[in-house]
Symmetry: C2
Subunit: 342 residues, 2 copies
């Protein structure tokens, strides 16, 4: 970016207009978008699903290794992931940002390019938001809205004993990407050496530009599967399966040897003497779908290569356990991301 | 507050549970609230209206004179005001907060007490949100959802020539409250003298605990009025009428002698040698409804003591003007709050 346009030269309303001028709607339900006091959505007999998330510089992301375009993309995707985790289809988003005057219009354009790329990919309409200055750092708040066929939304508290525990995609890679970037940042600070990300594009991509599992929710609809419970993995497998079990008043057994890993990620973990299983359990930010299905759906689940069956639901009295490759049984511990302890 | 409970002692999920444990739903449309990936709303053939706003410490509020309970209340109300400004009824909110570790659980309880008080007063359900730590300051993002009879929502860009320009309540008082509190803060910093708010409860209340004009939107429904355009006054009368005129491609004339003031506020303005008209035009944060109606609705509007007719819409070529008490005609200038220039 060679040019730098000061935000003040546009003013608040000029800035909003600049950032939202190319919006075109993809959803028939979007009646009115940015530019009024509120947006308006129509329904056609569907139910609305809503979720919101806040991302704060220095807490949720580090701009020293996060391109603004990726950040815009990820801010949208992590919210859409929550909508998919309800077995719903996202249709609209609202996005508010706060930023200090060290950002130029060009920097915000980069961020919004990522936002629009995500909207395009997931067929979502940006319908509102707010821009504000901040005292420090970049602050993002996204609200995602989706729709679902009446009463086919899937909650966390409805898993049943003997249900299969399934997960989409792979686990632990985003955490390994974070570990790599933090390591390279430290080396750069100490020695000035440029980051060596050779051969690690996959894990870095998993952290900086995650995708939401639209395909899995579409597969549920095609295959007439309604999961008995579902959550997206943001805090780590351990913490998230414990949410399902605690809310459903059940226990569970997870099989370590069934955990899905990416080969490149696994190799990198070994290189760093990290246990891939620990990365999967406690790493977080995978944005995969973790769900339970009735055993009657086993055949339908088995044939989808993007889904792994990693355990089953037990009675609450049996507790929540990991069965290791070596045959040991360890109680699960929620080691998910808790930024209040930092 | 004598006790101080550290946030870390509850953890993120414990905190969310603590803050949301007493929620009970008031709207039949609220199917599922806090505690899952997303909330679910039903519709019954209505259209949904959504709005979001971000409030940042040091930019939008000053905690040295803003009680956290008032802040919670106001954060909700300013978003509901946007929903009313669409001629809709708010039904649900989502609220995300970011805060540093200098806040205790008791402090957040105060904030949420205000949030719940506003929910109670306006019959709105809190259905979701996010809590996060921040590097600096208190950050609030609220998304409000409302419903409207299909196609009876009111936009900003639909005012017609000869429509009457109307405003609810009073203008400029919140700005005078802000001026008073900023003055007392400065005096305290310089001399240590305790704030003297004697007799100024009204203007301070208008700033710290504003209300949204639910009553006006209800009056529209009862009286079968559909305004031709509407906006809520957050940036000042001048900036907000200019939004309506610019978007509707019209001009306007405002009559200074028709502006509604509160007597106490006017007296305080004179005491400070401020022009009440300037406070109304440029002050902002009144959260009154500014709207236009067809002249056919004149009789219905006239009998409501909470509504003042302050001008009329003209052709675009005639520009946007204020007609002063002295008979002079001044072009309107948008002097609304622009924090990027600060």
């Amino acid at each position: 970016m060679n040019e730098r346009t000061e935000i003040a030269s546009l003013g608040e309303f000029g800035l909003i207009e600049h950032l939202t001028q190319n919006i075109s709607f993809k959803n028939a339900s979007t009646l009115l978008g940015v530019g009024d006091d509120a947006a308006v959505i129509d329904h056609f007999g569907r139910q609305t699903v809503v979720s919101t998330d806040m991302l704060i510089e220095g807490i949720h992301f580090d701009l020293s290794y996060t391109p603004l375009k990726h950040l815009g993309y990820k801010s949208v995707v992590v919210n859409l992931s929550d909508i998919y985790a309800m077995n719903a289809t996202p249709t609209q988003i609202l996005i508010s940002i706060g930023f200090s005057n060290r950002y130029s219009v060009e920097a915000l354009d980069e961020f919004y390019a990522g936002v629009y790329a995500a909207c395009e990919k997931y067929n979502v309409d940006l319908i509102g938001g707010d821009t504000s200055s901040s005292q420090k750092g970049f602050i993002i708040s996204v609200t995602a809205i989706g729709e679902v066929v009446p009463d086919s939304f899937v909650k966390r508290n409805t898993a049943n004993v003997n249900d299969l525990i399934c997960v989409s995609g792979e686990l632990g890679s985003a955490f390994l990407g974070l570990t790599l970037l933090e390591r390279e940042k430290k080396i750069f600070a100490e020695t000035g050496a440029q980051p060596d990300l050779e051969g690690q594009a996959h894990i870095v991509g998993r952290l900086l530009k995650p995708e939401a599992r639209k395909d899995i929710v579409e597969y549920f609809a095609e295959s007439e599967i309604i999961p008995t419970s579902m959550i997206d993995i943001s805090d780590g497998l351990s913490s998230d399966i414990m949410h399902i079990c605690n809310k459903s008043k059940t226990g569970c057994v997870l099989y370590e040897d069934k955990f899905p890993f990416n080969d490149e990620a696994k190799e990198f973990a070994y290189k760093l003497q990290l246990d891939p299983t620990a990365c999967a359990l406690s790493g977080g930010e995978d944005y995969e779908l973790l769900f339970t299905v009735s055993q009657a759906d086993f055949e339908k689940i088995k044939i989808n290569p993007s889904i792994s069956i990693i355990g089953y639901i037990t009675a609450e009295t049996e507790g929540m356990h990991l069965l290791t490759r070596g045959g040991n049984k360890h109680p699960l511990v929620a080691q998910g991301w808790n930024h209040y302890n930092k």
